[in-house]
């Protein structure tokens, strides 16, 4: 689990730098500088102890049972750290058109966003954005990569 988390973290940091966004940069650098210790309430804490992402079936924005369990845990975690704000990113695999996948990514992001909202998280603490198929987590043209790329990722934004 820790190895997997480290991998995700590394690629998150890289992605954030490239996008030039201020959304994730803080959390990424804070987490990666923490060494062996995990600071509570950070992105790294979320990744390691809760799970920062959920996965979707092909061409679907419905939350699976597994996804709902992850989001229940995320909601509890967000309750525990009420000063934490998040951005939910929705992503798609590469097997669709760019435009359709932007739409699908937005529906996925919104599924996560609204689930957390229904779980009691103030929408003022949350934003969401679709990246369509533009930012794959795993590079590769096979189902192994695609299943990792059809995802909703919760990013700590402060």
């Amino acid at each position: 689990m820790l190895i997997v988390a480290g991998f995700f973290l590394a690629s998150c940091a890289a992605t954030n730098t490239e996008q030039g966004g201020d959304v994730d940069a803080t959390s990424a650098s804070a987490s990666s500088s923490s060494g062996g210790e995990i600071t509570a309430g950070t992105q790294e804490d979320l990744i390691v102890n809760v799970g920062d992402r959920v996965f979707f079936e092909f061409d679907s924005s419905e939350l699976t049972v597994d996804a709902q369990a992850t989001l229940d845990a995320q909601a509890a975690w967000l309750m525990q750290y009420p000063d934490t704000n998040i951005t939910v990113e929705g992503h798609a695999d590469e097997r669709g058109t760019r435009e359709y996948n932007l739409a699908l990514g937005d529906k996925r992001a919104f599924s996560v966003y609204s689930y957390l909202a229904q779980a009691g998280i103030d929408t003022n603490r949350m934003e969401y954005v679709s990246w369509g198929k533009e930012r794959p987590e795993v590079i590769g043209s096979d189902e192994t990569a695609y299943s990792q790329n059809r995802r909703g990722v919760t990013i700590v934004s402060n």
């Binding site: 669709g96 058109t97 529906k107």
Partner: protein, 439 residues
């Protein structure tokens, strides 16, 4: 712009009917044309002549409808602008048409004179004289002459004096840097220009039919929205103040509106199609369905819109009236459809289809009949029509691998008969191509 200059200086034998070349379904035998040296008296004009000859020859050859007869075979080596050709000499080497031209410097700038001959009928069929103020317009002159030759011989509208806007790509596939770029339709490096700096992700640029504008999507401050880029001023302007993602933009045929998708946060982030009037800034919602509605494209008369929707379960193609009424599904085959684009002639719709693990680019009648696949590969996307409706450009992407290799993406050109595919060269990878109207 250059057309205006040309019209004044342009005198042409009024051509009524197309000549020998018939364009039917299936493979066309390219017509042999000879292009003499384009003569210049000094080193500058000789250089312009060489450039022009190369542009014209490349354009005509790349169209698939012509080939240039090998220069080594030419028997007559004279400037044939003022001198009548020895048609027998050209007949002997099987040149069906013959183009000759010269370039000179005048008080008004650089002057080109051109003659086009029908060799078999031993007569001049077109002549042209034009003057440009400076050499910056040389490439445009080459394209304009190509258009005149193409139009005179095939009877179809030309497409050479046009540009392609596209997304230039570089870097690892999970953190791709994308920039808007523009170039002449032949992809010549001298014409290539970046429009954005790569700081923000940009996608899906499309030309306005009759203005120097491009509409596209940009992630500014990580907010994905539709923008307009003004090619004259370089200014960028957001299209409308929407509280959620806007994407998949295209201009209306009159360039007065943009049609696009809006993913409304108050509607469960479901994408619907909106028409945004650029003058009044009023917006009109055209679709209302729980499925995704995106990739709208107007018919050239502005009466109909083709779009992509998964309202029936899987993504398919639909046509509706311009006000959103009379929605009808047109895609009939198996597979996942997307990217519909109405042809500028009005009679066909180009699309992508994913089936049996491959993408296909195809065309169908506007009622969905007569679906034909033009090209098939692992990843194809973004078909765009040439302004004369005879060709498509699109992008083709290779498979990528876990180690980060692969995934190269390039822009391709193909005749809608499925023949004559070739790569349009770009300095980096290229995707999302769109074709300008004739300049």
């Amino acid at each position: 712009m250059i057309k205006n200059i040309l019209i004044i200086l342009f005198f042409s034998l009024k051509a009524n009917a197309a000549l020998e070349v018939t364009i039917a379904q299936g493979k066309v035998e390219p017509t042999p044309i000879a292009i003499t040296q384009i003569f210049g008296a000094d080193s500058d004009t000789a250089r312009y002549g060489n450039t022009l000859r190369q542009i014209i020859s490349n354009n005509l050859t790349n169209s698939g409808l012509f080939y240039t007869v090998n220069e080594d075979l030419y028997i007559q080596s004279d400037n044939l602008v003022e001198k009548v050709p020895r048609f027998e000499d050209w007949k002997l080497i099987k040149a069906q048409f013959l183009l000759s031209a010269d370039v000179s410097k005048t008080d008004n700038g650089i002057r080109l004179r051109m003659r086009l001959y029908d060799v078999f009928n031993a007569k001049e069929i077109e002549k042209l004289q034009l003057t440009i103020p400076d050499e910056n317009l040389i490439r445009r002159v080459g394209h304009t002459v190509s258009d005149i030759v193409y139009e005179r011989i095939t009877g179809e509208t030309g497409y050479f004096d046009t540009r392609i806007v596209y997304v230039s790509e570089i870097g690892p596939l999970d953190q791709r840097v994308k920039r808007l770029a523009i170039m002449d339709q032949d992809g010549h490096l001298d014409s290539h220009q970046f429009l954005t700096d790569g700081k923000n992700l940009v996608l899906t640029p499309r030309f306005a039919p009759n203005k120097q504008l491009i509409t596209y999507m940009e992630y500014k401050n990580n907010l994905p929205r539709v923008y307009i880029y003004n090619l004259k001023t370089g200014e960028r302007e957001i299209v409308g103040d929407f509280p959620g993602m806007t994407f998949a933009p295209r201009f209306s045929p009159d360039s007065q509106s943009v049609i696009m998708s809006f993913s409304d946060p108050n509607n469960a982030a479901n994408s619907e199609i909106y028409l945004m009037d650029l003058n009044t800034r009023s917006r009109l919602r055209l679709t209302n369905d729980s499925g995704i509605d995106t990739s709208p494209s107007f018919s050239p008369n502005g009466e109909k819109i083709v779009f992509n929707s998964d309202r029936g379960g899987s993504p398919q193609l639909f046509v509706m009236d311009k006000n959103g009424e009379n929605i009808k599904r047109i895609s009939k085959g198996k597979g996942v459809y997307g990217n519909p684009v109405w042809s500028p002639r009005g009679d066909l719709i180009a699309f992508t289809k994913l089936t049996q693990g491959n993408f296909h680019i195809g065309i169908m009648d506007i009622n969905g009949n007569n679906e034909r696949v033009i090209v098939r590969d692992f990843a194809l996307e973004s078909p765009a029509w040439s302004p004369n409706g005879r060709y498509l450009i699109f992008h083709r992407q290779k498979r990528s691998n876990l180690d980060g290799t692969g995934g190269e993406v390039s822009i391709h050109f193909i005749d809608i008969t499925g023949y004559n595919e070739r790569v349009i060269p770009t300095p980096r990878d290229g995707s999302d191509p769109a074709w300008s109207p004739l300049l």
